[in-house]
């Protein structure tokens, strides 16, 4: 294995982790409400930008991260409460426009609050890279991968072992039946958005020391997260993680071996291919459409 290949693999897995977290956010919301949340990328941006501005105010990094994640979760819940709930039962086209409008609104608010410039965070534990078989690995990449693994483990515990998690799963399986056994499905919608916002914020924060962030950063990250979710099979958690890693690695490889200018197009080429030739994704359930 050449060191260049390994290098692209490392950077692909790192950025792919963020797509995986965003893709998980899409899947959780899709399962809870059949809404595709085009504002998912803005959660990533808000988490990162809030951390940057809170550390700028002199807060220690850990406190800034905790506050920024909490703020993003609040934003997520507010999106569910004020944009999605009032439009319950609307057609997919309407819901798409609502979530896109929400993302435009959040981006506009971020521009007003934080301006349009690029911002960075210091690495969590130094910038001395490890050398692995001729390829360099930044300590921050380990933070990204470790955090992603921890978050995935946390989600597994939440959905597998807690009453709230099981209530959310039940709602995604059958909304009416869940309601009949006493689950508050509006609460589930709120929780899904809050959880998706948390995943986005965490991903955005750990990534910022490597990629920088700006109020515009959310658009592409969100869309690539959606590519990840569709590639893995929309609504399938493991699929979203796998899809995110594949999109990230494919992007890094095409930047390295083909053309860095068309790097951004990779995720969209993948999504077109998946949509046209394997619309259920890698791990999606076969199903039929009801008339």
């Amino acid at each position: 294995m050449s060191s260049a290949f390994l290098q692209y693999l490392f950077s692909g897995l790192t950025i792919g982790s963020i797509y995986a977290l965003a893709g998980l956010g899409f899947s959780i919301i899709y399962n809870a409400s059949h809404v595709i949340n085009f504002a998912q990328g803005e959660f990533i941006m808000i988490g990162a930008m809030a951390t940057v501005s809170l550390t700028g105010l002199g807060l220690p990094l850990a406190a800034a991260i905790a506050l920024a994640v909490a703020a993003t979760v609040l934003v997520g819940a507010a999106v569910a409460r004020f944009a999605i709930m009032p439009a319950r039962g609307a057609s997919p086209v309407t819901l798409i426009i609502i979530t896109i409008g929400t993302s435009v609104f959040l981006r506009g608010a971020a521009q007003v609050l934080w301006g349009k410039g690029y911002h960075a965070l210091p690495s969590f534990s130094g910038d001395t890279p490890f050398v692995v078989m001729g390829a360099t690995l930044l300590p921050q990449s380990l933070w990204v991968l470790g955090t992603t693994l921890a978050v995935i483990a946390g989600l597994g515990w939440f959905f597998g072992r807690t009453l709230y998690g099981k209530a959310m799963l039940a709602t995604s399986c059958n909304r009416l039946a869940a309601q009949l056994v006493g689950i508050r499905v509006s609460g589930v919608l709120l929780a899904a958005f809050a959880l998706a916002a948390l995943l986005g914020a965490v991903g955005g924060i750990v990534m910022t020391p490597i990629t920088f962030t700006s109020s515009e950063a959310g658009i592409m990250l969100g869309l690539k997260g959606f590519s990840a979710a569709v590639l893995g099979g929309l609504g399938n958690g493991a699929g979203a993680i796998l899809g995110g890693l594949i999109v990230g690695v494919a992007e890094a490889m095409s930047a390295g071996y083909l053309s860095s200018a068309y790097k951004e197009a990779t995720a969209f080429a993948i999504i077109l291919f998946v949509l046209l030739f394997m619309p259920r994704g890698l791990l999606g359930q076969p199903g039929s459409e009801r008339v």
Partner: protein, 318 residues
């Protein structure tokens, strides 16, 4: 078509013609003319997009790319290869027609979120290509383009452009209304209600969707070709994702499934940023709030809500 409906139909076009004739009296300066001409360009694209979104119920989040392809085809062919503008416009429209036809069949099999994502992906790939192939397109700096001229006569000046755009808008609206009242228009509305039911009734739904997709893409391309000569330049941002979103917002704000709604939506949302220059920083926020607010409080759009559905054909209840 009964006599009464014919009258109703043409009364709408007559009102639009009167408004377009009277508007120059209210336009104080070149700046106002500029806004009006831009609103006219947007309105034409939106009338076409409305056929797709409002009538056929198929969303496209990549229409700015077709506008951009038309604009770049005209720009590149006239400046780099010395083509006459009209020939470049036709060539661009034919190219976009072919491309959208090739894309339409596989893409329009998708529905809802998936269709949105596929059209969005196509749009973004096209805008990345326009940005990257700078040897041809001038890259992110854009491309400077000369005036539009045909048969030795050059189109220049705000008033001349206003007149041309006003006439073209009337023609576009009239053609759109014709299409809606034709068998194809009824087929589109039927497949919006239920694709399966439409197929059972003997409608070739795939053919109808492809037709309206290609039509709206070609219209966007022609408008793009004209726009590039009017504005004198084009940048890849004009073909980008945000532009596509703006176009969709204009359609839904004015009113889905209403040709005049699309015109009014385009006019208001083109003029609004100019009127709100004092709030320039908040422009993006306001735009987002309009999108969300329209969908929640008046999901059928401004015109239909204001009119209380009085003179517009009601959509049958699903």
């Amino acid at each position: 078509m009964t006599g009464k409906r014919r009258l109703e139909r043409h009364s709408g076009e007559a009102v639009l013609a009167l408004v377009l004739l009277a508007l120059p009296l209210l336009l104080p300066n070149a700046y106002a003319y500029d806004i009006a001409v831009n609103a006219g360009f947007n309105a034409m694209v939106c009338v076409g997009l409305n056929l797709l979104i409002g009538y056929a119920g198929q969303i496209s989040l990549g229409h700015a790319a077709f506008f951009g392809l038309g604009a770049y085809a005209s720009g590149i062919l006239t400046t780099r290869y010395g083509w006459p503008p009209l020939a470049a416009l036709v060539c661009g429209a034919a190219g976009v027609g072919l491309l959208s036809w090739l894309l339409a069949r596989p893409v329009l099999r998708l529905r809802g979120h998936f269709l949105a994502m596929a059209t969005l992906g196509i749009g973004i790939i096209i805008s990345i290509a326009l940005n990257t192939e700078s040897w041809l397109t001038g890259g992110s700096d854009g491309l400077m383009v000369g005036d539009f001229s045909v048969l030795g006569r050059t189109l220049s000046g705000d008033r001349a452009w206003y007149a041309v755009v006003a006439v073209l808008l009337l023609v576009t609206v009239s053609m759109s209304r014709n299409l809606i009242d034709s068998p194809v228009g009824r087929a589109l509305r039927a497949l919006h209600g239920s694709e399966v039911a439409a197929e059972v009734a003997g409608i070739d739904t795939a053919r109808c969707k492809v037709l309206v997709f290609v039509l709206s893409a070609v219209l966007a391309s022609i408008v793009g070709s004209l726009f590039v000569h009017y504005a004198g330049m084009i940048t890849p941002a004009r073909a980008g994702f945000m532009r596509s979103i703006e176009l969709v917002t204009m359609v839904v704000f004015g009113g889905m499934a209403s040709t005049y709604g699309a015109v009014i939506g385009a006019a208001i949302l083109t003029a609004l940023p100019q009127l709100l220059t004092a709030f320039e920083d908040y422009e993006t926020m306001i735009f987002g709030a309009i999108m969300v607010g329209t969908m929640i409080f008046m999901p059928r759009g401004l015109l239909v809500t204001l009119a209380g559905c009085r003179w517009l054909p009601r959509r049958p209840a699903p």
